[in-house]
Symmetry: C2
Subunit: 421 residues, 2 copies
């Protein structure tokens, strides 16, 4: 008789509007395979929950609550920014993981995160080899940054992309109305420290030449102040207004973040605002235009109310596939989204080796950015467009979305020892 092992699931890194949809996929699928997988214990605050034996018994949540995860943003079990240091450097962490996993009969490890988390997952997957502890570790992809390799998109990205495209289309209509006597320039700051995927998504808002956004500032393109100002001036002279999407990660020619470059302040004070303010001040001081700026920040990655239906489905699918991979005996793999057709858009789930995923960043290809560096190309549009299709509205009660809060009851601790992080 096969021993039934329990599973560990945790969320890691910045959360998204659909990471809980992946959790839903993991939990619902595990519940369908009770002869293979026992209980699913969720780590409270990611891997920290495993290290501190702070486990949540998901079996105590009713099916309706698990189902509601599919439309609830944020990380239902708490997330963390915590990177395992590697067996050679910090053996104690791995010994502790094994101790906790043994105590709770855990044989499956599902880790839901981005690049750093894939690295953590890879290290856990090697515990069998490195420390003789049998475990199957499957990574569940998630990141709004869309910078994981192999998978066609990263669940979480499609919804941010939709939020940004919708928001900038709406704000552009506002600015256009106001430009005669008031605001000429509107700036929307979006996430993306290293890769310009989210900034690129703003480009979807415009369909014809001249449609806003008129300028996109990518982290991949060194900021050229003079050229930028000329572009803004041209737009205002032609359309009477200018809409700009700026990635938080925009850098100058020396590779310094614009938000930290201190170009504005002769006293060398630390940047206090962020890149939107920086750009706004530049436009005001050099061109004299009235501006408004918005900083989407967490709103963009938690906006489940306007999530992409495709994204929600893919987020669920990678969670489901992770459990199916585990049941089939796989280790050190990640379900990846494979695009099989562009028109009509079709996709399926493939399997990626975790060693090919961890610590590789997928940047925006240069041919996705127009020659002048301020827009997206047709190739980029072909890639992005299907990812924002469809609405997947959450249920509402009295005008507000009904998001679930789980009970998150702790599993009784079995170890006497505490672990210092």
């Amino acid at each position: 008789m096969r021993t039934i092992k329990n599973a560990f699931y945790a969320q890691s890194g910045g959360v998204t509007a659909v990471i809980n949809a992946s959790a839903c996929g993991v939990l619902e699928t595990a519940r369908k395979h009770k002869t293979r997988i026992g209980k699913v214990y969720a780590g409270r605050n990611g891997i920290i929950g495993a290290l501190t034996e702070d486990l949540i018994d998901t079996s105590l949540e009713p099916p309706a609550a698990i189902r509601a995860l599919k439309h609830t943003p944020g990380g239902a079990f708490g997330s963390c920014r915590y990177k395992l240091k590697g067996v050679d450097k910090h053996r104690a962490e791995f010994e502790r993981l094994i101790e906790v996993f043994k105590a709770h009969n855990i044989g499956y490890f599902f880790y839901n995160g981005g690049g750093d988390s894939a690295d953590t997952c890879l290290k856990v997957s090697q515990l069998s080899e490195t420390m003789g502890f049998p475990i199957q570790a499957i990574h569940v992809p998630k990141t709004v940054d869309n910078d994981l390799p192999i998978t066609d998109q990263c669940p979480g990205f499609g919804s941010v992309a939709k939020y940004i495209a919708v928001s900038i289309r709406e704000a552009a209509l506002d600015v256009m109305s106001m430009s005669r006597t008031s605001t000429k320039v509107f700036i929307l700051e979006v996430m993306g420290r290293h890769a310009g995927w989210i900034a690129a998504a703003a480009g979807l808002a415009g369909e014809k030449p001249g449609d806003p956004p008129h300028v996109i500032l990518f982290p991949e393109v060194a900021f050229d102040e003079e050229k930028f100002l000329m572009k803004v001036k041209e737009s205002v002279e032609k359309y009477d207004f200018c809409v700009i999407a700026v990635s938080e990660g925009v850098r100058n020619a020396e590779g310094k973040f614009l938000a930290e470059a201190g170009t504005r302040d002769a006293f060398g004070h630390t940047q206090l605002g962020g890149v939107a303010v920086e750009i706004a001040q530049l436009v005001k001081s050099k061109l004299g235009y009235k501006y408004h700026y918005a900083v989407a920040d967490y709103l963009q990655r938690s906006a489940r109310h306007i999530a992409s239906k495709v994204d929600v489905e893919q987020a669920y699918a990678v969670g489901k596939a992770a459990v199916e991979f585990a049941i089939k005996g796989h280790n050190a793999v990640m379900p990846a989204i494979v695009r099989t057709s562009n028109q009509p858009y079709r996709w399926k789930i493939g399997m990626a080796d975790l060693s090919d995923v961890a610590n590789h960043e997928k940047m925006l290809p240069r041919n996705y950015i127009t020659k002048d560096g301020y827009g997206i190309t047709a190739a980029c549009r072909r890639y992005l467009a299907p990812l924002i299709v469809g609405e997947a509205y959450p249920p509402y009660k009295k005008g507000l979305p009904e998001y679930v809060t789980l009970k998150n009851k702790p599993v009784k601790k079995k170890l006497k020892t505490e672990f210092k992080l």
Copy 2:
């Protein structure tokens, strides 16, 4: 036989997610009364369109385009920030208006705006008396600030309120997930220079004691740094995180805007960020918590994708009623929303005298703010809650809302003279 007069309609001040729904109400209703109202000419960019004889012939727009205004944010004909100075001070402006109105046989004046625009509308309504030109001027209320008197709410406000309540509920779930190892404090900056209506709407996101937002900063409550920091600290110690909604209009005890108070910078440099940055820096420097902040800016007032259904209906209704008032022979009035029941929420359209509306601001009553100054009371909740009920989603195509752009064909000019603004 009665002469059929044409009508003038224009949008004024900051636009909203539903000002075009009011335009739709005006235009559809006028089209139903062709024996009484001829063509409706829209002013391009508000009253400026009248002064410069820059009129748009709305009769050239097909019914489907007019219908689509109901779900399109921004101001379809362009808005303006331009206040008529009064007959005594600037007679030339009024003479010009009469000249343009006469040339185009305009007998009805519909002005869609807030407090300042009500003042403009009132002045136009007095043209019969002051300058012997027969006109009926009806004001169509609109402002996200919700500060017009008499009307129970101002169309545009309900949708901003919904956007803010939904957004902060979502962002709070994000911060809650991250707080163990990362962000402890999240700040959302919202509009409202003078009145805290929008900030108050953030309070709808929380339903039980302890629910986020934990702190709301109103323009009506003088900012007390020490007390505020203690409140944030308490929240972080109790819940591990703190969510703050801050009105752009928050002031210190001396009545100075916090965003301009320069409390942060000993060199007295002009504030570059805005109040969210100010608050964020304060929290970081005094309490050491990691923060994130978002600035909703134009996103909040253009977010037609998450507009309140009640708000859309009321915006349409005031447009419709304005035309009906005109047909009944009224002048110098404004359709007002009258709440006839709280539970179930019921409302009807009443009529307000424009002289009671212009230049009066309706502030947030003190009994809508909790004793400690950081939350909303049950009375406030009773007032606000019905205004965000219902979703009125726009149609989508390929993942993006389909907003209409009108042809906005100009009416042929009849005057030889130009008018300098």
